[in-house]
Every structure is written in C-alpha cells, then in structure tokens.
C-alpha cells in the first residue's frame, strides 16, 4: 500500500533541505562566497515564504497512521518555520564578516541543514520525527561551533557541546523508549490518549520516570540549569554568528520540543512534570543571572544571560503545571506566554549578537566587555541598537519588547496563581538589570586608546537594522506577537 504524501504540506521542509543541497552544489560549481551566501539567503527566504503560505491555508496533515499523524502543517508549525527561516537568514547575513576565514560553502550548508531540522521540528507530531529533527538541528551546530579550527576555545567548546548533547540525547531517547514500551505509541496523540485512558499506567512509577527523562533531556537544549554548563564554553568558542544561532534558533528548537512534548504528548502527566519544570525554571533564571554578574567576556555574558532567559521561558509552563485548577484556558495562556516570550527574546538576542558582530573587527571573537568601551562614540547607531537590545533583555523601556515579554510572563504566572514564581521572576529581573546595565554603561565609557573605527559591513548592518526594527515594531505593537502566539493549537 502506497501512502499518499501531501507534498504541499512538506514544501517548507523540502525547500530547507533543498537549500542545503543547492548550497553544496553551488559551492562545488562556483566556490564563491557571495554566490553561496546568496543561494543560502534566498533559500531561507523561500522557506519562510513557503511557511507563510502554508500557514495561511488550511491545516494539512500527512504521514498519518491509525495512531495519528507525524507531520501537521498548522499555524503553530508555520509560525515556527517562519521563525527558523528568518533566524537562519539573519544569522547568514551576520556571518558575512566571519566567513572571511571560514569555509563559506560548508558553513552555509551546515546552517541550512540546521534550518531543515528546525523547520521539520515545528511540523513534527511524533517522538521519532521530533528527536530526529532535533538532532538534525543540533548536529551541524557541533561542527559550526568547532569551525574556528585554529582556536583551542573553539575545539573545547565544540567537544563540550557535543559530549553534553550526546548524553542528553541518550537520556531523552531512553525516556522515549520507555514511553513507547509503556504505551506502544510514539505519536503525540496516541501517547496522550494512552496516558489519559490507561489508568494502570498511573500506578507505574516507571511512567513518571519516562516522562521526566524525556523532558530533562530536552531541557538541555534550552540550556536549563543544571543542563546548561556547556552553553558559555560553546558560545564563546564558536564564531559569534554561530553563538547567535545557538542562543536563538537552537534555543527556540528546545522550547518547541519541550512545549510539544509536555503540552501535546504528556499533557495528562504534566502534574508530575510540573514541579520539575518549575524548579528548573527557578534554578535556571537564578543561576544564569548570578553567574552573568561576574562575567568578563562579552559572549559569555550573553550566554549566561540566555541561560537566565531560558528560566523565564520555562516559568509559565512550570507555573501551569503546578497551579491548582489546570484548565485548558490556563494552559493555552501559558503556552501563548511561552511562545510570545520566546519570540520577543529571540528578536532581542539577535539584536544583541548583531551588535556584537558589528562592533568587532572582521571575524574576531566576542572579546572582553572592556573592549567595547567607548563604542558609543565611534558607532553611535550600533551602540544604540545594542543598548536597545540589552535593555530589552533586561525588560525595561525603551526596550518595550522586553518589557512586554516580562509582562506576558508575569501575567501568565499570576493568572496561573503562581505568585511566588512571579516574585522570583521579578527579583531575577533586578539582578539581570545589574549586568545588562553594566555592559550598556561600558559602551558609553571613555576609550582607553584611540581606536580605529571598524567599518560595519552592509550585510551586518542590514541584519542588525532588521532585528532592531522588528524589536521596535513588536515593542510598540506587541499584540502582533501575542496574536501569533495565540494561534497555537497546542493545549486546546
């Protein structure tokens, strides 16, 4: 029996994978940086456009069995595909200076592979596809992190990232295997049904262990404490655009995976996962912020800040899982808050990394924070964008996007009657501001030497401008993001 495949639904994934292959071919045929980059950028753009088109149409499902469908092209998936494609596009532009010393063709190819994984991830509705997609998103990044091949830091970062990732994958896989063993299903729908209907499973502690193992393994992806220690080393070792990708697209992937698994597949067991998620959220934001206070290197600081941000992202879900009345309404609120915060965060993080790239000469690494002293005088616009991104991450005006992001989270926490978690988030925001403001103040500090003004490549400027513009737009019209987040069918 040959199954009919809905190729239209698969279009974004096809385009993403096609981009990867095309990049490889173009690199073989032309071997020019510009050509490869153009193809990659166009491919990413095409993927995004296709995702928009698919998203606007009716929901399409394919690869369906009796247990459920593996691939559903609904609004959520389309939104995520657009995000992955957009992030890849911006990171490609940001990579222009870095590509002077990196193999451009392979670099773009790997990034396109990661994008393929991300796009597929957004549409996947079973554990196998999800894990395979997630691995496809992650594996190219090991290499990209290690791509500064003369740098020990790069190699160390790559090995750290790789080892922790493999271990975490093993943990996730074990959990998934147990879930399959217990329920006989890997589709989210099947899992949910089995977990909800089969009362016997409730009495087996193994089920709880399986649920936790899956989620814990995925928590590695978002760099939640205690699965976070790879992040600073990997971010700092990697070429800066790759760090940007790690902290945005890769983290988005982790969030999506956790959301899908927790909300869609393991919904009946969220009360078991709840305390774990809440504890992870608290630990993550606190440890991330505290360590970030003491950082000397720019990218490491951003890495730790992104650890802390992961805590805020996890908080609504943890709060929901904890709170008393777990109504569907509260869940969709929590999911929307998570997605909305992630979107706000991704935009601002991209802005911050974009500014770092713009302020550093050529393909240099992130450098020390002190190296940025006085850049407000030499590059007022870039510094302005940087400050906007930083205060956005801190959640204060004029970074309205960040402010609304915090508001979204706190609102969902209080709506879920998790006031204490809201207070923890609030206090963490104070600690967070301490280091964001330190960095911002450094930009305005006096220059120690008369530094030569680095020219900002147009691609980087465009990418940074786009990220900043988006941050401003969603800052003044956060409803756009909230509407998009509310489209999610998760938890309904």
């Amino acid at each position: 029996m040959v199954q009919s495949v809905d190729h239209a639904a698969l279009l974004p994934t096809y385009l993403a994978a096609g981009t990867a292959l095309l990049v490889l071919l173009v690199d073989l045929a032309i071997a020019r940086r510009a050509a490869v980059l153009t193809v990659a950028v166009l491919g990413a753009a095409a993927t995004g456009v296709a995702a928009v088109v698919i998203g606007r149409g009716v929901d399409r499902s394919t690869f369906c069995t009796a247990a459920g469908c593996s691939y559903v092209a609904d609004d959520t998936g389309a939104l995520l595909a657009v995000l992955f494609a957009g992030l890849t596009l911006v990171v490609l532009l940001l990579s222009v200076p870095a590509l002077r010393s990196l193999p451009a063709g392979e670099y773009c190819f790997l990034l396109a592979c990661a994008m393929t994984g991300g796009v597929a991830l957004g549409f996947s509705r079973d554990l196998i596809t999800l894990i395979v997609s997630l691995e496809t998103l992650t594996l190219p990044l090991y290499i990209l992190v290690g791509l500064r091949r003369r740098s020990i830091g790069s190699a160390e970062g790559a090995v750290t990232f790789f080892v922790i990732s493999v271990v975490a994958t093993a943990v996730t896989l074990l959990g998934a295997a147990f879930l399959y063993a217990l329920t006989g299903s890997v589709h989210f729908g099947g899992l949910r049904a089995a977990l909800a209907d089969n009362a016997a499973l409730r009495d087996i502690p193994l089920t709880a262990a399986a649920v936790v193992l899956v989620l814990v393994g995925l928590a590695f992806k978002v760099a939640a404490v205690p699965f976070h220690a790879w992040a600073p080393a990997a971010y700092d070792g990697a070429p800066v655009p790759v760090a940007a990708y790690l902290s945005t697209a890769s983290k988005l992937g982790g969030v999506v995976a956790i959301l899908y698994v927790a909300v869609d597949a393991l919904r009946p067991w969220l009360d078991v996962a709840g305390p774990a998620l809440a504890a992870l959220a608290v630990l993550t934001m606190t440890v991330g912020n505290l360590v970030a206070l003491r950082q000397r290197r720019m990218v490491r600081l951003l890495a730790w800040s992104s650890v802390a941000q992961a805590g805020y992202i996890l908080a609504p879900l943890g709060a929901f899982a904890l709170a008393g009345g777990r109504t569907d309404e509260a869940l969709s609120l929590a999911v929307a808050a998570t997605i909305a915060y992630t979107v706000f965060y991704v935009v601002m993080e991209l802005g911050a990394f974009g500014a770092v790239i713009a302020l550093r000469p050529g393909d240099a690494d992130g450098g020390e924070i002190a190296d940025y002293r006085g850049t407000a005088r030499t590059h007022p616009w870039v510094a302005g964008a940087f400050v906007l991104a930083l205060v956005g991450l801190a959640g204060l005006p004029p970074g309205l996007a960040g402010l609304f992001a915090k508001v979204v989270v706190v609102r969902s926490l209080l709506g879920g009657q998790a006031g204490w978690l809201a207070i923890v988030v609030a206090l963490n925001a104070v600690v967070g501001l301490a280091y964001y403001v330190r960095v911002a103040a450094t930009l305005f500090g006096p220059t120690t030497e008369t530094e030569k003004r680095v020219r900002v490549p147009w691609a980087v400027a465009a990418a940074l401008g786009a990220a900043t513009a988006v941050a401003l737009v969603v800052g003044f019209a956060p409803q756009l993001v909230l509407d998009a987040a509310a489209l999610s069918q998760l938890g309904r």
Binding site: Y142, G146, E156, A177, W230, P232, V291, R296
Partner: protein
C-alpha cells in the same frame, strides 16, 4: 519470554554507560560509554516491540534510526576529539575548561 530480563539488562547497561561517562577522562573512552547508553536505549526499543501487544515494528524502526544517529554522532564526535587533540595534545575531558571568563580583577561591590 519474560521481558523483564532484557529490560533490566538494558537498565544495567545504561547505568554502566552513565558510570563510564562520568568516570572516564579519555574522550574516546567517554564516547564508548555513550555507545553503551545508546545501546541500552535500543535494547529497550527492541524489547518493547516484542512485548507490547499489537505493536507494529515501530520500536525496531526507532532503534535503526538511533543506530544511525549514534553512528553520525560518533563520526562527528571523533572528528572534534581529534581536532582537540591536534590543538591540545591531550584528550582528557576534565582539562576542557567550562567557564574561565569570570571577573576576578574587579572588586566585589555594587559599583
């Protein structure tokens, strides 16, 4: 057939893998331990196929995919380990620093 036998075998293998990952300094040995863990996962999947009533061969499919993933990761991982060795002349994982970027020159104080 008592499924508990292969299941417990898998659990023990996974435990051994965990022990190895934590115990071994040598990156290659560490990778071997990871293989033990993944192997345990596969054993669970295959056993599940045999033990779950009315299952398709999904577990085996999953197991095949895991093997492929493991192979791909070992390939990439070894390449990275070799690169580290090339730069470092050493593949002891506990010499790979996690976070050395902390401030230590600035005095503690809110300012």
């Amino acid at each position: 057939m008592h499924p508990v036998i292969p299941y417990v075998t898998a659990a023990l293998l996974f435990g051994l893998g965990v022990y190895g990952v934590l115990r071994r300094r040598n990156a290659v040995l560490l990778l071997m331990s990871v293989e033990l863990m993944l192997n345990a996962v596969n054993l669970v999947l295959v056993t599940a196929d045999a033990s779950v009533v009315g299952a398709h061969a999904t577990g085996q499919v999953f197991a095949l995919f895991v093997i492929v993933i493991a192979a791909a990761e070992v390939g990439v991982g070894l390449a990275l380990v070799l690169q580290l060795y090339r730069l470092h002349r050493n593949i002891a994982v506990d010499t790979v620093a996690l976070d050395d970027g902390s401030l230590d020159d600035e005095p503690v104080g809110v300012g």
